[in-house]
């Protein structure tokens, strides 16, 4: 039996919510300028974004700004290279799962950010609360498509809340 057989996503048997489980995520802490940042950017194939709450695409991975010296690199499920490729990175894949939402109206039931396209659009991310739950909100497409990166232990609560809000 392999690790892949044993793992369970928080929303594996949850109806009505689109989960993108098991994305590979590493947290990077490094000064934004200097040799280390340059080496990391070269290794990832994209710059560490310095604009607050913005996202840079680097091949099949994305780099999310979390702070002036902190980023989250998100790769696909099964990205075996990412967790060990940067000495400054910590593997946090098991910390959060990902929920996909395709409605701005739905998020606005519980999110105080201005999500209108003039203020928030594809390539933006934000750490905020939705229904009092801390999430990383990341807009991946202008359709719109949003991803909510939420801690595993809060995922069913947030999924319940989203299902309920979608009915109201």
């Amino acid at each position: 039996m392999t690790v892949e057989d044993l793992r369970r996503s928080p929303l594996a048997s949850y109806p009505g919510v689109t989960e993108i489980p098991f994305l590979t995520m590493v947290n990077v802490r490094v000064p934004p300028t200097g040799d280390a940042a340059a080496r990391i950017s070269a290794r990832l194939g994209g710059p560490l974004p310095v604009v607050p709450n913005s996202v840079v695409e680097a091949g099949r991975r994305h780099i999310l700004w979390l702070g002036p010296d902190e980023w989250l690199v998100v790769g696909p499920d099964g990205d075996r290279e990412l967790p060990g490729m940067l000495p400054e990175a910590v593997d946090v894949s098991a910390n959060r799962t990902t929920i996909e939402v395709r409605s701005r109206d739905l998020l606005e039931h519980g999110c105080t950010l201005d999500l209108h396209p003039r203020a928030f659009h594809a390539g933006r991310c934000a750490q905020t609360t939705i229904a009092r739950t801390q999430v990383i909100l990341w807009q991946t497409s202008d359709e719109p498509v949003y991803r909510l990166l939420v801690r595993g232990s809060f995922a069913t609560y947030l999924a319940d809340w989203l299902s309920d809000a979608a009915c109201s």
């Binding site: 607050p52 709450n53 979390l66 702070g67 002036p68 902190e70 105080t112 950010l113 934000a126 750490q127 905020t128 609360t129 009092r132 801390q134």
Partner: protein, 80 residues
């Protein structure tokens, strides 16, 4: 709803922040030499003005960065 401006993220709802008390309270330069009363002053005593007050806040549910700001303690208006 009170909006607080994070220097990194811009205006966010008050509930994303935590208060950190008076700003610019520096650690004693020579802690070994402090009397008990001086320690008590450093640890427990803070200004409590009616009006503008320099404070520390942290954007705890957002970027988790600390910052200094000036708030009017009467109106809760943030001045910087």
């Amino acid at each position: 709803m009170l909006l607080i401006s994070c220097p990194w993220c811009g205006e966010r709802e008050e509930t994303e922040f935590h208060y950190g008390g008076q700003a610019f309270v520096s650690y004693p330069a020579d802690p070994e030499s402090l009397t008990d009363e001086e320690w008590a002053q450093y640890v427990f005593f803070r200004d409590n003005p009616k009006g503008d007050f320099a404070e520390r806040w942290v954007h705890s549910a957002g970027c988790r960065r600390w910052f200094n700001t000036v708030r009017n303690t009467v109106t809760s208006e943030f001045l910087s």
